[in-house]
């Protein structure tokens, strides 16, 4: 199993955020990336909510995998258990935030239900398992990958706000130009390949 030392945490961060960005090189979380990126502020809110949930989800799914599923030989149940963990986690986070921090709930709350079906969350849990990360690495992977998502969605939102003033052909407005924009951004992000 891969372990994390202080020195390579930074490399891990760069890898997750820039080189292997969740959106631009792993195509995970594209739905919210395109759906919630019309305003920079909401995009940042969504990104933050995803970071929060992905960190927690990585922790719980890898705990369950390593202490329950793997020892009992029930790894074929991992998908179903992960999705249930994520769904209930999102529910709990929502309830917890509502009680403890209404301000944070107000800003993140509306994005939380959307996260259940965000494939990035389930994706990161699956990656943690297939890459055989230990628990700390899993959590870091979750948080760092989500930061990559945050970066991508905020940049995307900035560009889309600007595109509002552009004269895009009618047929390409919305998703088509959004996808194409993401493609061009992915071209730029290719420059970061091999940094780690």
């Amino acid at each position: 199993m891969e372990t994390v030392s202080c020195g390579n945490v930074l490399l891990f961060l760069v890898s997750c955020v820039l080189s292997n960005n969740f959106i631009f090189s792993r195509f995970l979380g594209c739905c919210p990336f395109l759906g919630v990126s019309s305003k920079v502020e909401t995009a940042a809110g969504m990104g933050m909510a995803v970071t929060f949930v992905m960190g927690l989800a990585s922790l719980f799914t890898s705990l369950v995998y390593q202490y329950v599923l793997f020892p009992l030989g029930l790894t074929y149940l991992s998908t179903i258990s992960f999705i249930l963990i994520i769904a209930s986690l999102v529910q709990f986070v929502e309830m917890f935030l509502k009680k403890s921090s209404p301000a944070l709930y107000k800003s993140l709350g509306i994005y939380l239900p959307l996260i259940t079906t965000n494939c990035a969350v389930l994706g990161v849990a699956t990656i943690n398992v297939s890459a055989q990360y230990d628990i700390l690495s899993s959590v870091l992977n979750g948080v760092f990958s989500a930061l990559g998502f945050l970066l991508a969605i905020v940049l995307m939102a900035g560009v889309r706000e600007r595109l509002e003033t552009s004269h895009i052909p009618e047929a390409f407005k919305g998703f088509p130009i959004g996808l194409f924009t993401a493609g061009l951004m992915a071209v730029a992000f290719m420059g970061f390949s091999g940094l780690v």
């Binding site: 595109l163 895009i168 061009l184 730029a188 940094l195």
Partner: protein
């Protein structure tokens, strides 16, 4: 008596989009000539094809979609020439054609045409070509007259080719058509400054921040080589200064230029590409809308109005 009635001002500066683009073309002339001199007829062919394909693509797209044809503003010609200058001297003929088509139709017109694209068309097309045909796009040759008639395959300076500072300055090194001759680029820069087409801010700050990062990171090359090799000067003068894709406010331009310099240094030092100019500028193109959104020029009187409101409250 019928008089025209219009709203002031009744006088306008003589600059127009076309004159600005014409000035950029003139500024590119020395670079192009040196490139053609260095890399021979094929380089000339690439430039001609790049410009022709760009102009034709723009014409065809605008005709097909029933828009006003704006090839007279020369912006397509500038894009085509910039793209061609970003190719190695011995690239196949279809490369500038594909690149110009991509730049004009997909990067520029699809987003609404001149002024509406958010990434530099020529540079994006170069990025796409580089990702599509990595071998052909990085097959460097020495300028033909340096080593006899036959072109000799070699690495660039960044890839380990040894060259004197004077050779790098004059352009007798392997590289893309436009980037090799620093002296030609500087002549173009001086012309654009003189004609007030661009300001000094982005090129100078970008080079300075790159130099600082190079010193901090400890590059494989020495400082002079770092600054004179690769496409950084060409990128700083002609690519990063593209109006449409750089920030509007002076402070925003400083941030943008510093960002470009830092990213280029990072990619050169640690990335898998030997040269990071293309990507550094493209990444900052993407950040530009955010810079424009959050770096605001203080509006006359608003700070004071706010202060007074606070004092009263």
């Amino acid at each position: 008596m019928s008089l025209h009635v219009s709203i002031a001002p009744h006088v306008h500066s003589k600059d127009s989009t076309a004159t600005i683009m014409r000035d950029v073309l003139i500024a590119l002339l020395p670079t192009t000539l040196v490139g053609v001199y260095c890399f021979g007829l094929n380089a000339a062919l690439l430039c001609v094809l790049g410009v022709a394909a760009a102009v034709l693509s723009e014409y065809a797209y605008q005709k097909l979609t029933g828009q006003k044809v704006r090839i007279n503003d020369l912006s397509a010609a500038v894009t085509g020439l910039l793209l061609a200058l970003n190719l190695p001297g011995n690239a196949p003929w279809w490369m500038p054609v594909v690149g110009s088509f991509f730049a004009i139709v997909l990067v520029k017109q699809l987003f609404g045409g001149i002024g509406d694209n958010f990434m530099n068309p020529a540079l994006t097309a170069r990025g796409v070509l580089l990702a599509s045909w990595p071998v052909k796009m990085t097959a460097w040759y020495l300028p033909t007259f340096c080593k006899g008639v036959d072109a000799v395959s070699t690495a660039t300076v960044l890839g380990g080719y040894e060259a004197s500072a004077m050779d790098m300055f004059l352009g007798f090194i392997p590289g893309t058509i436009g980037e090799v001759s620093k002296v030609a680029i500087l002549i173009g820069f001086a012309y654009m400054l003189l004609r007030k087409v661009i300001s000094w801010r982005i090129p100078v700050v970008m080079m300075a921040s790159f130099a600082l990062c190079a010193a901090l990171f400890g590059m494989e090359q020495d400082m002079v080589t770092s600054l004179l090799s690769g496409g950084i000067l060409f990128g700083a003068v002609f690519m990063a200064t593209d109006y449409t894709t750089c920030p509007m406010s002076p402070v925003g331009q400083y941030i943008y230029a510093v960002g470009c310099g830092v990213i280029i240094a990072v990619i050169r030092k640690w990335g898998s590409y030997a040269e990071g100019v293309t990507y550094g500028i493209l990444i900052m193109n993407i950040v530009t809308p955010l810079i424009d959104k959050y770096v605001k020029i203080p509006v006359y009187g608003q700070e004071k109005a706010k202060k007074e409101a606070k004092a009263n409250a």
